[in-house]
Amino acid sequence: MSAIGKTDSVQASALAARFRRRTPALGSSFVLDVDFEAPPGFTILFGASGAGKTTLLDCVAGLLPPDLGRIAIGNRALFDASQHTNLPVAKRRVGYVFQTLALFPHLTVEQNVEYGLDSLPQPERRKRAASILDSFHIAHLAQRPAREISGGESQRTALARTLVTDPSVLLLDEPLAALDAATKSKIIDDLRAWNREHRIPILYVTHSREEVFALGERVIVLDSGRIVAQGTPHEVMTAPLQETVAQLAGFENIFDVTVDEIHPERGTMVCRVVAAVAQDALPFADHSDGGKGTPSAAPTAHRDPRASAPEGPALSLETPLVRASLGSPLRVGIRAGDILLATSPPQGLSARNIIGGVLISIELRDMIVSAKINCGIEMDVHLTLAARDSLQLAPGKEVWLVIKTHSCHLMQRSELLSVRLSS
């Protein structure tokens, strides 16, 4: 911790990590295998729960040892299997704010913040703590026990406690997940202000799509222990997602499609449905990622909404624009809960996909009504009990499905899936 004395001499070095870690578990084992670089500034680590985000941070912080590889800040190696280097946690100068924050409950806010400044003389310690408490707007809490302050105050204290030590890298494991949007954005502003003066890499873990766009200069998408995409939020989040079991899990309706038209000026594409993907073949996980597309659709009609009556497989969907070329095979996932059902042809809607069909069956599952509709292909739509009753739905009834462009989630059609399924 000798470098603590020299506040402004912290080098703006990138974090470079290339490592592999196998965590044995009953039955199977989890393998984290990553290779990335995080330059100074925010880098978002995005992925569903269980994707390996926290394991990755623990490896960088030194709480878990990788099996092989190298982790370095600039040219300072924290871990290097080939050199048998494995710096102890306390010597890494990696700041880490946990999801649970882990404030010391028996200490005051001020004592928490001063905890990492042990090597400094008392007056200097006081000065540093006072200054960071001030910049995170918690100076008035200094003498309060950490176990008595509110959630937002705890997050600020945890950030201040870590940042005051002048770390070379900052790891944030969804530290703001539990906060309301207003509090969250205020804390993020303070963090950004701090980062402008201390140009260090910040690895920010989240599973919220909104946070990715709000924060990200760079995004790394992690899935099942592997990096499946990295780049700017726009590049990464609009590229067709790598299809994995985890991503398919949230979708009741999955279709193979081919790209028929591309409209870059509108930010949309038209995809023709080729076939439905049999869901029984997919081992659905029981969780779905909460992230939905940001709804925005330019209302420029180019297609008669009623043209696609139930007359065969000639069904097309308007989808968000992704990096794809004409004719390329993709896969579309639509959540049953994202589809609206109408009993007469709807008019004057912003939604781009209005598809006629016939109700095949309707059944009650828990408190959700699941309706199967034939519109060339079979679609699963979820309704509430009240909606079912007011629409007087019965098999054979003619209905119209309304699907927003951004409810169509595009994925790459990978051969990988069949391998996964058989293993």
Partner: protein, 239 residues
């Protein structure tokens, strides 16, 4: 003096205060020694990832189930003039460890070990591991983490361990008899005193001594549990 078992008089005037004083000294020495010795052992049991750790846990727990005579017997053998350890002790001090106050302390430490180590280890294990990780990422050495995070947050467990080993030493009998014998002012503790009185039919003296010891132990345990409850009530939020 009546010899009826049903109407035993109180022989307050016959109390052996020397035995009480000796017992108190022994209990203080043993509980302090166990605080120093028990903390590292408990730390190791709570945090080691060694696969054969359970063997050590079993060894520590042995005194709970073993008859004190077994422990006392092995101590006599191990510390006697025919063992390396015993010869070393004799060359250092000029006499054997058996039948001395030092011998009592060693025997009692071993006999009360689980009563200190188990509460220590249990409270260490129940700590939120992320607090320890946070301390390390803030640059703290394991020793500093131990002193500033682990110990303060384990205080109830530490108090319990010290008090239990103190009280357990107050009342121990078998090991003392085996290792120490019955030398007034050297190894004659309260429990030996009571045994001795009963043997010599001094029931009223035994009665008073036993009652005093029981009341004292009860008061001590009540105090410990009361204090711990208060600690818990102040800080129930700690996970």
């Amino acid at each position: 003096m009546t010899h009826s078992y049903f109407f035993i008089t109180m022989g307050w005037q016959a109390l052996d205060w020397q035995a009480f004083w000796l017992t108190l000294q022994l209990a203080i020495a043993v509980s302090l020694a166990l605080l120093l010795l028990g903390l590292p052992i408990a730390y190791w049991i709570a945090f080691s990832r060694w696969r054969w750790k359970f063997l050590m846990e079993a060894v520590v727990a042995l005194p709970i189930v073993l008859p004190p005579t077994v422990l006392g017997f092995y101590l006599l053998v191990a510390l006697g003039p025919h063992s390396t350890l015993g010869r070393l002790w004799i060359s250092l001090t000029g006499h054997t460890l058996a039948f001395t106050f030092g011998g009592l302390v060693v025997g009692s430490i071993l006999y009360s070990l689980p009563f200190a180590v188990q509460p220590f280890a249990a409270s260490f294990s129940s700590l939120d591991r992320r607090l320890l990780a946070a301390s390390a990422t803030l640059g703290a050495s394991p020793l500093r983490t131990f002193l500033r995070v682990i110990v303060p947050l384990s205080l109830p467990g530490l108090v319990t361990g010290v008090a239990l080993s103190f009280a357990h030493t107050l009342g121990e009998f078998g090991v003392v008899l085996m290792v120490g014998g019955n030398i007034p002012g050297v190894t004659r503790t309260v429990s030996i005193d009571i045994f001795d009185r009963v043997q010599s039919s001094d029931y009223s003296g035994a009665n008073a001594t036993a009652l005093l010891l029981m009341v004292f132990c009860f008061a001590l345990l009540a105090l410990v549990y009361g204090v711990n409850r208060k600690v818990w009530m102040i800080g129930p939020t700690q996970k």
